[in-house]
């Protein structure tokens, strides 16, 4: 059951609201708050947060594995001297919605659970930090959440997501029931499941869930915009391209004063999709910096983008910088933009195009100056990102909570498949299978073990 020990788990949530603002704050609270924050936040001085006292803060980087997400400040509070009365870390990062959500997601991936509505306040109350009369308001919050969840479940009743989750659930329940019947009724002729067939059953479910999981990011691109980096050596026309894109359909260009002091994100609607063009000037991306294309931070910036527009200058021969850029973007989603068509000869164009096409599959010859080729770019972007293949009516994970459930199911499935491959006995595998079922049943509101037993009696002719 999903509520086992929920009170003792470490929770995290964005505490500043999902409105673009200067500074965003993600809060982690619970026994493992500091430990989890340490896996996500690297202080500049390399001294882990766990070695810091309460009421101190440190400047550093928020990262996801090797990839840096943002720089920010971590404030450490130690129990009971915190808002919730538990160990708390508040990670202040840049206030962009995407950055905050990424930061939250990394925390969840490292073992925090998404906080429920009002849960920080609830904990504060339970730990004696709030007065008695505040309890009423806490219950109000929980009620609101509960009602909200019920409404959401109702709305999703005929929804594509629920259908898809149910199909996986049905599959896994069937497999778990089969294993259960096979184990609980050894004397009946319940067909034995071979490890191979179990692996393929579980991989089938894994595939569906994985595609849902992946689509979460694609879906988010549609909802929140495609983060796009424009890169290239100096004077290839990046700024001209940026200006061209910004001018395009001027009326719907919005400025999101992003995160910071420095980064300004510009949202541009192109071909029905919002492109979030990061003018990274503030983060020291100057023309000079681009010369050193291999520089660490620049590569990371590109890696965190959904799309890279790599700009080349057709009017000049390709040089080492261009090759370095091509190498850097290799394996990423990018469009090679061969710019300054208007200033190049036919021979230059075909030579440049031939060269680039050796390394790039999506190549566009255009002129940012005259605007020639802009329409093709508009068509290329959704194609390159696979957005054109997305069926708007298809199942889509709607929020971090659902994503977390799917992630837990995927982890348990991976563990089960690994156990099967290693030749671990099926009793352990069936436990993994039920572990995978539980979070899915959280999404649909049922209980795993009861469902399995129901199925045993429905599907198998067993008895004494």
């Amino acid at each position: 059951m999903e509520s086992f020990g929920r009170e003792s788990q470490t929770i995290a949530a964005i505490s500043t609201g999902l409105i673009p603002s200067g500074v965003g704050m993600v809060r982690v609270s619970g026994p493992k708050a500091i430990e989890i924050a340490d896996q996500v936040f690297q202080t500049v001085g390399q001294k882990p947060l766990q070695q810091r006292k309460g009421y101190t803060s440190a400047f550093g980087h928020i990262h996801d594995g090797d990839e840096m997400i943002d720089e920010g400040v971590a404030a450490v509070y130690r129990a009971p001297h915190s808002y919730t009365g538990e160990d708390v870390v508040e990670l202040c990062c840049h206030g962009g919605v995407y950055l905050m959500e990424r930061t939250l997601r990394v925390l969840l991936d490292h073992g925090a659970r998404l906080a429920e509505e009002g849960e920080f306040t609830k904990r504060a109350f339970l730990n004696g930090k709030l007065s008695l009369d505040q309890a009423e308001s806490v219950i109000g919050l929980i009620q609101a959440e509960s009602a909200g969840a019920a409404r959401a479940a109702l709305a999703g009743k005929d929804g594509a997501l629920k259908r898809e989750i149910l199909s996986v659930q049905k599959r896994l329940t069937g497999t778990a029931a089969h294993l259960s019947a096979w184990v609980d009724y050894p004397e009946e002729d319940v067909e034995e499941l071979s490890p191979q067939s179990l692996v393929s059953e579980m991989e089938g479910s894994q595939k569906i869930l994985e595609s849902l999981y992946k689509k979460y990011d694609t879906g988010k691109m549609i909802r929140k915009g495609i983060s796009t980096a424009i890169v290239g050596k100096p004077n290839v026309g990046k700024s001209t391209l940026m200006n061209l894109l910004s001018r395009y359909e001027r009326s719907i260009v919005t400025d999101i004063p992003g995160t910071t002091r420095d980064v300004v994100e510009e949202s541009v609607l192109i071909g029905g999709y919002a492109l979030r063009l990061a003018d990274t000037a503030g983060l020291r991306e100057t023309e000079d910096q681009v010369e050193a294309i291999g520089v660490q931070w620049s590569r990371k910036k590109m890696e965190s983008s959904d799309l890279i527009l790599a700009v080349f200058d057709l009017s000049r021969p390709m040089d080492d910088d261009d090759h370095a850029l091509l190498e850097t973007v290799e394996g990423r989603t990018f469009i090679a933009i061969l710019n300054k068509k208007d200033a190049a000869s036919e021979a230059d164009i075909s030579a440049g195009e031939r060269l680039i096409r050796e390394k790039a599959s999506d190549v566009l010859v255009m002129s940012a100056q005259t605007g020639e080729g802009l329409e093709q770019l508009e068509q290329m972007i959704p194609k390159v990102l696979g957005l054109n293949k997305i069926d708007p009516a298809a199942a889509m994970i709607a929020n971090e909570r659902q994503r977390e459930c799917v992630k837990r199911a995927l982890d348990a499935l991976a563990e089960g498949i690994e156990a099967l491959r290693a030749g671990i006995t099926l009793d352990a595998v069936s436990v993994c299978l039920e572990d995978a079922l539980s979070p899915l049943m959280e999404l649909t509101g049922e209980r795993a073990s009861d469902a399995v037993i129901e199925q045993v009696f429905e599907q198998f002719c067993v008895g004494k």
């Binding site: 086992f4 009170e7 008695l132 509960s146 609980d184 004397e187 039920e434």
Partner: protein
């Protein structure tokens, strides 16, 4: 103690052994610990229960070891969590053994009498019981374990009559008395196949099913070599069998609607199987001896409530059964049982102080499930008399706890059978470590004697020592070692390797590395096997232990007794109703009630905290005042 079936026997023994003056009532002394269905003990998950009963100091394991005919460890190869012991038992010997144990027990009086009434005092506490012959006994606690006797009614085709199991008398009056006490009664149904004469079966047409070469006893106290004394046989139904059944379905009381009782899903009659699984061309049946000094054979898998002539006809369509002679016919039996949601986890009724329920009366089925509840009810009834707190068994610690928690938290809508899949902690609740889990509890309760305790401590230490040793031991590199590894289809090593690392490979067992483990002490199988499992499944075991720890944090948040949950604002209506009915002991139990959401649990948490804070200043005031 009302009833001397498998629940009643364990309850009476436990209570009397704990020093409570106990009277055991049974309608017939010849029905003590009878097996009116399968002549067998154990099976999947049920075998776990028997081992737990034994480890706590119960009797069933010892009785099964003393009277077995054939023994098999089921599910070998499917993983240690689901290994389950099952024996064929000598039905009459089992009864004789248990009856004799009861007769020798201190503090225990055995009476052949039908209890017809239970009386309570003005505080709704049980005070007296009355028998059919109008004898009145003053009592402090009563345990009801009436099995299928309570308002028992047998059905065979169009014929039905009042009866208990195996042609015993039914208990006809007690139901009325229980209703008056406010206990809800329901009708459940079960059934049993025919018994046939051995010489009328052509065994050459059947498959033989042998027992295990090496027999593992149920009881941790049983020693010495054990040998199988009989074999069982397997037969199959065929199209003709199914045709006979379908042609006569209208004469089945189940299908004509005469039986209203709810039958067990896990134990369908042959007509049920044929109807529900019409695509299956054949169903299995087992032929099992009823004892060494009888020619009666039990026909497992062929239970039926069809008329006698149809029973004979359908059995005779089976290959090997052409000339079969039925000695006892198959029948269905309907009986009164309670709604276990009205019970506390101690198995005491919420409505009546001192009144306990156990066994089939609580809505379960199976001798082992009954015995497990009998043991718990016996322990708690005795403790109540002695003014002690009840012993509660958490579901994370045993199948016994899982069984009781399921019953009192979720209830049951058909007879409840234990299955390994009912436990979310099955990798730690294994049959092989039942003693490690339960014997310390039995010791504390007072049911584990010196000898068992001494043996237990020795085994426990030996296992711990061996695990520690294996973690420190390096197996030196040798061509023979690699030869063995390759022959087990696992990769060879390039240097000396820790014994635990080799053991963690699924293909490698303790016995495989034993020849290379030069300093290995000589250990009994139960010790090294335990060490092997603990090492091999360490990762999974740890994961489950973490889940147990998390669950415990909710279990320690106790809910007060007799709360009106309708008065707690913020709880959803469905949750209020369910909570009011179950009256859970703690938040953990509350969270397992279907219809109680995590949000409701949050509300309860805050409500508890509010209550605590409101009470605290008052208490302090009171203290100051005095």
């Amino acid at each position: 103690m009302i009833g001397a079936g498998h629940a009643g026997v364990e309850a009476a023994l436990a209570a009397s052994r704990l020093g409570a003056h106990t009277i055991l009532f049974t309608i017939s002394l010849d029905g003590i610990a009878n097996m009116p269905c399968n002549p067998s003990i154990g099976g999947t998950a049920k075998g776990h229960l028997v081992r737990e009963i034994d480890a706590l100091g119960g009797q069933m394991g010892l009785a099964a070891d003393a009277t077995y005919l054939q023994s098999r460890m089921l599910n070998r190869g499917k993983g240690p969590a689901v290994h389950s012991l099952r024996v064929q038992s000598d039905r009459v010997q089992y009864h004789i053994y248990m009856k004799h144990i009861l007769e020798q027990a201190p503090n225990l009086t055995i009476k052949q009498a039908e209890v017809t009434e239970i009386r309570v005092d003005s505080t709704n506490h049980v005070s007296q019981i009355v028998t059919k012959l109008e004898a009145v006994y003053d009592v402090k606690t009563v345990i009801i374990a009436t099995g299928t006797y309570l308002k028992g009614r047998v059905y065979v085709g169009e014929v039905s009559y009042e009866s208990g199991p195996d042609s015993m008398q039914a208990a006809t009056s007690l139901s009325e008395s229980l209703r008056k006490l406010g206990i809800t009664l329901r009708r459940f149904k079960t059934g049993t196949p025919a018994r046939a004469r051995r010489s009328s079966i052509d065994f050459s047409q059947l498959e033989v099913q042998e027992g295990d070469e090496e027999i593992i006893p149920f009881s941790f106290m049983t020693e010495g070599e054990m040998k199988n004394q009989v074999v069982c046989h397997i037969a199959y139904t065929n199209e003709e069998t199914h045709r006979v059944i379908l042609a006569n379905l209208d004469r089945s009381p189940l299908y004509s609607g005469k039986i209203e009782g709810i039958g067990p899903r896990y134990c369908p009659s042959i007509e049920d199987k044929v109807v529900r699984f019409s695509e299956k061309p054949r169903h299995q049946a087992f032929v099992e001896p009823m004892g060494l000094d009888t020619e009666e054979m039990y026909l497992q898998g062929l239970s039926s409530s069809l008329p006698l002539d149809v029973q004979e006809a359908l059995y005779r369509t089976i290959k090997g059964f052409e000339q079969i002679e039925l000695m006892r016919n198959a029948y269905a039996i309907e009986y009164d049982c309670c709604d276990p949601l009205e019970l506390k986890p101690s198995l005491e009724f919420k409505a009546v102080t001192g009144l306990y329920g156990a066994g089939q009366f609580n809505g379960t089925s199976g001798y082992e499930e009954a015995a497990a509840q009998g043991l718990v009810a016996g322990i708690n009834a005795a403790r109540q008399v002695q003014g002690k707190e009840p012993v509660l068994f958490p579901r994370s610690g045993s199948y016994i706890g899982t069984l009781i928690d399921d019953l009192v938290t979720k209830g049951c809508s058909d007879p409840y059978r234990m299955m390994t899949s009912r436990s979310e902690y099955r990798l730690i609740l294994r049959q092989d470590n039942a003693d490690l889990r339960m014997t310390p509890i039995g010791r504390e309760i007072g049911l584990v004697g010196e000898e068992r305790w001494k043996r237990f401590c020795q085994k426990k230490q030996a296992v711990e020592r061996e695990i520690k040793r294996l973690k420190q031991t390096t197996i030196p590199l040798s061509p023979e070692l690699n030869q063995m590894l390759v022959s087990r289809e696992t990769s060879p090593v390039t240097a000396g390797t820790k014994a635990v690392e080799l053991l963690r490979r699924p293909q490698i067992g303790y016995q495989d590395i034993h020849p290379f483990d030069l300093l290995a002490p000589k250990l009994s199988k139960e010790v090294w096997e335990q060490a092997e499992i603990e090492i091999k499944y360490e990762g999974y075991i740890k994961k489950q232990l973490t889940q147990v720890e998390q669950m415990k944090k909710l279990e320690i948040r106790l809910l007060p007794e007799k709360v009106d949950y309708r008065e707690i604002s913020g709880l959803r209506l469905e949750a209020q109703e369910k909570l009011n009915k179950v009256q859970p002991l703690n938040l953990g139990q509350a969270s397992r009630i279907s219809g109680v959401s995590p949000a409701d649990i949050s509300v309860l948490l805050i409500w508890l905290e509010q209550k605590k804070r409101r009470n605290t200043p008052e208490e302090q005031e009171n203290k100051n005042g005095h």
